[in-house]
Symmetry: C2
Subunit: 735 residues, 2 copies
């Protein structure tokens, strides 16, 4: 378990950004108690996930292909809702721009980004059968595991094998080849020799156009589509930096060995932000909003010193220099808030800083949001200060200026050392047809080079200039230099970029693991509605025996369906048509996803089915709804996590669920308080009384009368409004 | 123009469903007046689209690649909002399931669907230069166009060329090769011979896994991912048919000659529904909701008789048999309502029925929603009854049962003709080791075949049975047959499917063309705020001269930003920070996308900029908002299409915009009525009075007092509530 998790964790980093080419050596990851708890619940969760079709292997009726998954109805809805929440939390609340670029990208773009040359894993093949292949680092790890398990191993050897294993994904091609020879590693299935390690590019290649005139690839990340459009987005932002661009979409990696469900797929969903800032202005105006957040931070020096992660506020972390700057810390804080809002458990989230040799050479600082789940701590979000790297390389490759400008508060003076205009003109005249070549070369020369040239000319009376293989002699008289002071009012700079990059499918995995539980002794299945009785006593035994009562306590905002509508008994189906139609219309009008369960199962069993889908609210239409005197037109509303119920007018329910399922302040406790008199547990009497009150007010059209009165009041604006209202109401004919 | 459009239209159908293999011969499409109007406005619209970065060619800084587009911030937001509206209109309101399948699909799936073998265009190459290639049908059309333009052409020849051109995309490989030879068509650039036409498959191929062990393709349509998961979705629906599954996502076609902007891209977005029904039960329970809709229908017999399309209700169309069934008609109606809700002009939408030889052989009926735009009538949605074709072929290819069951109201009796059990046993015994082979073959035999076999046996005393190349002699004594009557309680059937398939990018093109206009004499740019004065008179002349005042009257539901926040004058920036922060928080809380325009441009110019982005509402924070006595804390709200303004408390605005931008009933007229006294045009006095009234009520906490009183009222439930309230208020201490 331990070593399995460790390898998993190490692997997490191998296919990160292609351009991270510095060797990586990872700290061993220790499985925690939390991880073991999630692992124990995993078989039941996996059963639920597949049985209710949250997701399953893609193309299953064709036998499936590794690394591809299909999200079924509840899973696709949760993913949609998670992305909507992400857009609300980041794009809207941080007022970012969003672009929607293509999945297929041409060779040149990905050559610049480094993916064509460096987005590789090493592969070795069985020399007796080329169809048997292995990812070199994974095979090496397995061989080392096997050797460490051998009996009578010296502690020296144990350390050696452990070290090789830890390095496996950091070796260069030559190194890994040497290691394979040193340990005499053979093809595991046949015992034949292995071929030399070859680089295997992880991008899916596909030619564009009928003659494959342009080599295309499926994008390995969504970030490049942002950099390509930086210039056009900056224009839309009226040239003002800072600003951020987001992109959400599919990314593709042709993994040699896909595994771990949604964690390492060949096709997955990313949500990335590139937040562009001035290189020297990385403070963030809203830093104060998150500076008090205390998070579990695992700084690189703690990792190197084998110390545990510690809780620390982001304010303190920036002050201490642990986190490089405010903007980076701001997005760490916002990421944490997002993950918790989406349903991840706060205590299972930590932020791990990349080690110095783990970061790309150009990166200033990088933190991963790691979420503890059954596999151990899994990187789910990377938040990096990537400096000006991406814009710089694309600018160089295309000759397009990818800079921003800002007016300087105080203009600055710059000293420049150059040839005098007169001297340039004279040199031009002197060299005739070569004039352009010589003067261009002199103009581009650095101050130091020019000074050196002038020094030579002064010493020898002449100097020689090499341009494109030709040599030109310039006399000291011709070479007249000067220092010029220029005043600069505008600063041109290549923005730095802070990049929060979200692995949506990994976060979904964490959400399912963190919200899943089994109800104690199958309580939901034996639950009864608040009143109206459970007339469906025949026990659905077969289903009840086979299925454990799993619950997904998904936050209402991301739950696949916001409610389920349940007729209490099939026998009333004919009568309840109108009420159902009313509920459907109300739910659709409020944009709420919902389900209707008209099966013959007991009400408790149907609650349990809804719990499995993470449905937060259940509306039960019972006999009283149809024929219960003052209760006609009411229904019971049940909340998933507390299993509390309350009776209220069916017409009120859709708007209430809409509020409960959004960021609106209304809480379930408010609903209980409004509609029941008896505190948290709703008694029949209390419920009846609440329905009764509403009936009374409705019957007498109290609201309409009061609205008219208040309008008249506002028109008149008397000194004492309440006295005035009292008199006004007295003068009205009571209805 | 005319012939260009005609070719465009004909081309629309060429790359439809791969399995539509019957030859197609298309009716000529006549450009209408509407189309010419859109074409005239197109250059201004295109300028706006690119300048404000709704979309532009992808990878532009790398020179671009044909057929790929990037949606910039406003365009990506409009697309997101359109998809959200689609989900609300179909997935939620029709209670469909949604799946999220992969973009990469394996060979076997697309072999079954017909795409591997038949999703082709013909390509011809210049024999002197293999890099010069042409789509055969397009080249043929161009050659015919050129010949028709020759002088002195006989009318006979003209008809011949016209006919060849009209057939161009319907020829088989042999036919088109013969036609090229007949007319001696050469490579247009070099005059060299052309190669024989080759089939070019339009799918993007990409190998999966390191040895390309599985041939993969990018999906050419989203529909296949639905059929693959029919079985698992049916399980989630408790086995009940009818039900529908939707999928939204990218689709990919490696077009030889991409063109017409978003209309024919290599990567595009589809939204498809497969609605599964019993083959003989295609009525729809909600048909009554749309049966009264009168639409422009262009039935196939009208097209063949060269008659115009006619207006007809869907109820009448189904009654007359023009539309094949209620479910098909229901989705035609819902599609129409969606397109109008999204911003398409009703008068520019028609539904064209496929001609009998244009439909796939298995399809019962098929209608395209065609939208009139600058190119002519463009197919944007296809709505087809595809019978049981897709489920049948996938079931056959995989050996997976893709059927549904339903309990029969009245069990039916079925006569079966078969061998007696005794006879089967005896035959088994007789043939020993071949027993299984022989009895299996006899059991699977049809009644007719078995009857024929028995007849032979009776006539000759013996009959012979061929199984897998072996011959078995069976005596008449052994072959004992009987008729059995079986009672069937459950019917097993392969559902038929009604498929509405939406081309999202085409619909977006239509929406932009239909909502775009130029303001008469640049009125927005000279607009002033309701009061507070326009202190920014310096005329931004440069911008004003270059840019015409375009407006996108996008429905608020799909507008990229729901409002723009404008400080009236940059000089107040320091003071208005708090108000802006309040507006931002309120807008974000309501999940509203918004922009802030703090540029120094005049207020009119900034309104004009917002109009270009289709922003429906502008909030102007002016001097009175900050320092206007009773107006402090208010702002003006301007509506884009009417350019009317009203002043109201800033705190109220976000919730109002949220309602105006959703399917909530609140209208702009309601807002005007609530907050201004002077009818539609808001006078300063009226605005002040409205703010004043609210101030008065707030100051005296009238709402809180009344809430308490109403709660007490509901508790007491007196006979005369108004009299009681009057007394109760009188007894309260006035505040």
């Amino acid at each position: 378990m331990n070593s399995h998790k460790k390898r998993e964790r190490e692997r997490e980093r191998a296919s990160e950004r292609a351009s991270e080419t510095t060797p990586r050596q990872h700290m061993p990851i220790t499985a925690s108690e939390g991880s073991a708890g999630f692992a124990a619940a995993k078989p039941d969760l996996d059963d639920l996930i597949k049985r209710r079709f949250f997701y399953r292997q893609a193309f299953e009726i064709y036998g499936g292909v590794g690394g591809f998954y299909t999200y079924g109805p509840p899973g696709a809805a949760v993913k949609q809702n998670l992305l909507a929440l992400w857009r609300k939390h980041f794009v809207i609340e941080e007022n970012l721009m969003e672009v929607d670029d293509t999945n297929i990208m041409p060779h040149d773009v990905l050559l610049t980004s480094g993916h064509v040359e460096r987005f590789n894993d090493f592969i070795v093949k069985d020399s007796s059968d080329g169809n048997k292949f292995y990812r070199a680092d994974k095979l090496l790890e397995e061989v080392m595991d096997a050797r460490m398990a051998e009996k009578g191993l010296s502690s020296e050897k144990l350390v050696e094998y452990e070290k090789v294993k830890a390095q496996a994904d950091a070796y260069s091609k030559e190194q890994i080849s040497a290691v394979f020879k040193q340990y005499g590693i053979k093809a595991p299935e046949t015992g034949a020799d292995l071929t030399e390690p070859e680089e295997f590019n992880l991008m899916f290649a596909t030619p564009i156009g009928p003659t494959g005139m342009v080599q295309g690839y499926l994008r390995p990340e969504t970030a490049q589509g942002i950099f390509l459009n930086f210039k056009f987005c900056l224009e839309q932002n009226a040239g003002v930096v800072p600003f951020g661009i987001a992109q959400v979409g599919k990314a593709f990696r042709n993994e040699i060995a896909p595994r771990s469900g949604l964690i390492r797929q060949r096709e997955f969903t990313q949500a990335e932000i590139e937040f562009f800032v001035h290189p020297e202005k990385k403070a963030h105006p809203k830093f104060g909003d998150i500076s008090g957040l205390e998070l579990l931070l695992f700084a690189s020096d703690q990792q190197l010193a084998a110390q545990p992660a510690t809780r620390m506020t982001l304010g303190a972390a920036v002050a201490a220099g642990t986190v490089a700057n405010e903007t980076l810390a701001f997005f760490i804080g916002r990421t944490y808030l997002f993950l918790v809002r989406a349903g991840c458990r706060p205590e299972n989230i930590r932020f791990r800083q990349h080690l110095p040799d783990e970061m790309a050479h150009y990166a200033c600082d990088c933190w991963d949001a790691e979420i503890e789940m059954s596999l151990g701590w899994v990187e789910c979000v990377g938040i990096a200060d990537r400096s000006a790297f991406d814009l710089t390389v694309h600018s160089q490759a295309t000759g397009t200026s990818l800079t921003a400008q800002q007016t300087l508060d105080t203009p600055i003076k710059i000293e420049r050392f150059c040839l005098t205009k007169k001297s340039l003109a004279a040199i031009g005249k002197h060299f005739k047809k070569d004039a352009k070549l010589v003067t261009a070369s002199l103009s581009e020369m650095s101050a130091d080079a020019l000074k050196a040239l002038k020094a030579t000319a002064e010493a020898k009376g002449v100097c020689s200039l090499e341009v494109e293989g030709q040599s030109f002699e310039i006399s000291n008289e011709l070479l007249q230099v000067e220092s010029i002071t220029e005043t600069q009012h505008v600063e041109v700079f290549t923005p730095n970029v802070i990049e929060p990059s979200f692995g949506i499918d990994r976060i979904l995995t964490a959400i399912y693991e963190h919200t899943f539980s089994l109800r104690a002794d199958d309580s939901a299945a034996s639950e009864k509605p608040a009143d109206g009785g459970d007339k469906k006593k025949k026990a659905d035994k077969k289903e009840g025996d086979k299925v454990k009562a799993g619950v997904l306590a998904l936050p209402a905002e991301i739950a696949p369906y916001k409610c389920v509508v349940l007729p209490l008994d099939q026998r009333v189906v004919a009568q309840y048509g109108n009420l159902l139609a009313m509920a459907r219309a109300g739910l659709a009008e409020n944009g709420l996803q919902y389900k209707v369960d008209e099966s013959g199962a007991s009400i408790g069993r149907r609650y349990a089915r809804a719990d499995e889908l993470g449905i937060p609210y259940a509306i039960t239409i019972d006999f009283d709804s149809l024929d219960g005197g003052s209760l006609v037109g009411t229904a019971t509303l049940r909340e998933r996590d507390s299993t509390q119920q309350v009776r209220l007018p069916l017409a009120d329910i859709p708007a209430i669920i809409a509020k409960l399922s959004s960021s609106h302040q209304l809480t379930w406790e408010d609903v209980l308080a409004s509609y029941s008199t008896g505190g948290t547990s709703s008694s029949s009497a209390g419920v009846a009384a609440a329905g009764d009150k509403l009936d009374y007010l409705r019957k007498h059209a109290v609201a309409a009368t009061l609205n008219d009165a208040v309008n008249a009041l506002a028109e008149t604006q008397p000194e004492d409004p309440i006295a005035w209202l009292s008199a006004h109401l007295a003068s009205m004919k009571s209805q």
